[in-house]
Symmetry: C2
Subunit: 193 residues, 2 copies
């Protein structure tokens, strides 16, 4: 397996869903400085239907990240040469994570500067990337194919746990949620008198 590293960094201007490659990003405690998704709060949308749309809520989606391996699977399923992380609106393209989308929430990704991302959730489906892919490849069929193929390959979102810079080529350390115990590790209720 490839070592875990940052292949590409991307940021989005406030007006566009697409991200553009940058050499480095500055993580602040409210997200990537200058990025569309930065902010201590965001407005509730279709992803959080348990709040009225437009309600201010904590921003637990500072940035999104996808893997080279999952993008390659996605491209093969869609029958296109590659899936550009920019069209997915991703901020980090990581290598060495063949099952990135299944890292559990509370996993941390840490970079050499000390910058650390706290994984909050899988990235939920969204119409933007399907449309952007269809446009970029001039293949309207991709808009319909993308949502199903992307299930389990759409990467993760997270919040910034610790500030710092991330640079292209950086090594990535994945830290499993440390306190997590499974039911079988608990002293069984049968031990009760």
């Amino acid at each position: 397996m490839s070592p875990m590293r940052v292949v590409q960094l991307l940021a989005a201007a406030p007006a566009d869903f697409r991200t553009s490659p940058v050499e480095q990003i500055d993580l602040t405690l409210t997200g990537i400085a200058g990025d569309r998704h930065a902010g201590a709060t965001r407005l509730s949308d279709a992803r959080t239907p348990w709040h009225a749309r437009g309600t201010p809520i904590a921003n637990t989606r500072h940035l999104s990240f996808v893997s080279v391996e999952e993008c390659a699977e996605l491209a093969a399923l869609l029958g296109i040469p590659q899936v550009d992380a920019a069209l997915l609106g991703a901020n980090l393209l990581l290598e060495g994570f063949p099952e990135l989308s299944f890292l559990p929430p509370a996993t941390r990704l840490q970079f050499p500067s000390g910058a650390t991302i706290f994984v909050t959730e899988q990235n939920a489906p969204c119409v933007h990337p399907a449309r952007k892919l269809a446009e970029a490849h001039d293949q309207p069929r991709l808009a319909a194919l993308f949502p199903k193929a992307a299930i389990g390959r759409r990467g993760l979102v997270g919040l910034v746990e610790r500030e710092g810079q991330i640079r292209t080529g950086d090594a990535v350390r994945a830290i499993a949620p440390p306190g997590t115990v499974s039911r079988r590790q608990a002293v069984p209720a049968a031990a009760l008198l």
Copy 2:
């Protein structure tokens, strides 16, 4: 099974680990107003050994919550009549959650005011409650027994996703992480040409 509701609310003064019962709490986007654990950031400690101790990090532990059912199991394992949520430093004591500690991160707990907690992690072991229990029951043995018995019964921590009040007796709605898919839901890689 009991309906899911708030049995007790508790808050901690800045100087003490123990919490004290209150009739209602005000959730703000940085935690419970006036509570010891409120704040947009906290200093890294033994729970986050991947940061140097004392590093400012995002506070993903605004509040902690335990269940009546798990506290009853814990009391039985320890051989005491009951485990007081205040000695655990908990902020909410919930009923109707026999396996509260195993709700996955990214689960939301929502209350009638709209106030919403985003579950970030299981609550990790900590020496404070073991000592507080031993003192309160005048049984030094509890300090040694508690850590093992508490595995999988220590409840959860979370951050405030949406502001609002929580009152004693409130109903609780648990919302599973909506976007989460398992590996088997993904179109298999074998579908690749």
